[in-house]
């Protein structure tokens, strides 16, 4: 694993933009293609906004990872919100408890290569995603 780890707070819309910009910069550094850059930036935007809207805020960390063969970008979004009672349901397209399109979580999973979600009611949610450079 290599450096580039940065913890960013998510407390307002402006922070979501900051997270996005940070992800874009590192995505360029790690050599993701333009399409993959856009995908990972969009996923970051969705997940950061989820933390903001559904948990009232959280933290994001962005790091460059290396598995020996390829380099990639790993993003973690941690919040201490109400948690997700039914993860499968939350990942279903079109399902939302808010006013959005209900595509953010499921869509983000499709935008990245690895997607890991841990959540329990009352314990907050952690989403970790990884995008590998091709």
């Amino acid at each position: 694993m290599t450096g580039g780890g940065h913890e960013l707070p998510i407390t307002s819309n402006a922070d979501v933009v900051a997270v996005r910009q940070r992800v874009r910069t590192l995505a360029v550094d790690v050599g993701l293609s333009l399409v993959d850059q856009t995908k990972v930036v969009t996923a970051a935007s969705e997940l950061a906004r989820n933390a903001l809207v559904y948990a009232g805020g959280g933290r994001a960390s962005v790091e460059i990872v290396d598995n020996g063969l390829r380099r990639g970008l790993r993003l973690s979004f941690v919040d201490e919100g109400p948690g997700i009672p039914d993860v499968e349901q939350a990942l279903t397209d079109g399902w939302t408890t808010g006013s959005g399109l209900g595509l953010g979580l499921g869509g983000s999973r499709r935008l990245v290569d690895e997607f890991e979600l841990t959540s329990a009611p009352g314990k907050g949610t952690t989403v970790t995603v990884t995008k590998w450079a091709r």
Partner: protein
């Protein structure tokens, strides 16, 4: 308040009164600023201390004035705070020559008071900056969402940057207003300058299109770059029957044909010259 504290406070006040000229002169020299403003502040401060109340409204008002004035002259906020702190040094010299325990104890209290006032000038500076930033953000919001007329009956909104709720609101309002004012039936929303289209942006776009539809206008979304198209499909966003185009030119051509305007490339008139031999 203890008798000690009262006595030391009184001592400082006495010193400020008897040594006024000396302290002021020293302070002016230390602060490197005009004596007049400092004199006003000094007198307001002395009055406040003399009356034994903690009401420093007058002093703060004058300091705010000083802070703003100096910021205008290009001084840094540190400079201004340092100028205020100069008073401590000036007063300390008076306290030292007085030498009484009350005066020294009073100086500690006085020093803390000046620290607060110095920080206050910093706060005023920060607040002034904050106001400027807020104003600019508002202006930017206005500036960054122009609605332009492309053709008779066709308007366009070139979107650049992040599309959040506040901006969408402004864009939507402006677009709907322009549709009415120009009597346009076609609108082109160009997102070439939007770096990423996530579900929120998409939702905002959809809402804007539906709002325009309610007013009888058709919207075309243009400027969908390959990576954006890829992302939208992967996210699973459906634009339904909304017409989307890759470039603004395509969108304009589409809107023109829909509105029945025909564009024909003018035929080149050929001129043949024939020379006849006589």
């Amino acid at each position: 308040m203890t008798a000690h504290a009262d006595a030391s406070r009184q001592r400082i006040h006495d010193l400020l009164t008897t040594e006024e000229e000396r302290v002021l002169q020293r302070w002016t020299a230390l602060a490197k600023t005009s004596g007049e403003e400092l004199r006003d502040i000094y007198q307001a401060l002395r009055l406040a201390i003399g009356e034994g109340r903690d009401d420093l409204t007058d002093v703060r008002g004058l300091l705010a004035e000083l802070s703003r004035e100096r910021a205008r002259q290009g001084h840094t906020p540190s400079d201004t705070a340092r100028a205020v702190y100069g008073l401590k040094e000036a007063v300390y010299e008076a306290v030292e020559s007085d030498g009484s325990a009350d005066a020294l104890r009073g100086f500690i209290w006085f020093s803390r008071l000046i620290d607060d006032l110095g920080l206050y000038t910093f706060e005023v500076y920060a607040t002034a900056r904050e106001t400027i930033i807020l104003d600019q953000a508002e202006q930017l919001l206005e500036l960054s969402t122009p609605v332009v007329k492309l053709w008779e009956g066709i308007v366009a909104v070139p979107l650049i940057g992040t599309l959040d709720s506040a901006r969408t609101q402004v864009v939507m309002e402006k677009l709907l207003q322009t549709l009415v004012e120009t009597g346009s039936e076609h609108a082109v929303i160009d997102i070439t300058g939007v770096p990423a289209v996530d579900t929120q942006v998409a939702q905002h776009l959809l809402k804007t299109v539906f709002a325009a539809r309610l007013m009888g206008a058709e919207c075309v979304i243009s400027g969908i770059r390959p990576q954006i198209a890829h992302t939208i499909v992967t996210l699973g966003i459906e634009f339904g029957d909304i017409v989307t185009k890759a470039s603004l030119a395509d969108a304009l051509a589409y809107a023109l044909s829909r509105s029945g305007t025909e564009i024909s490339t003018p035929r080149r008139t050929r001129i043949a010259v024939r020379t006849e031999e006589v």
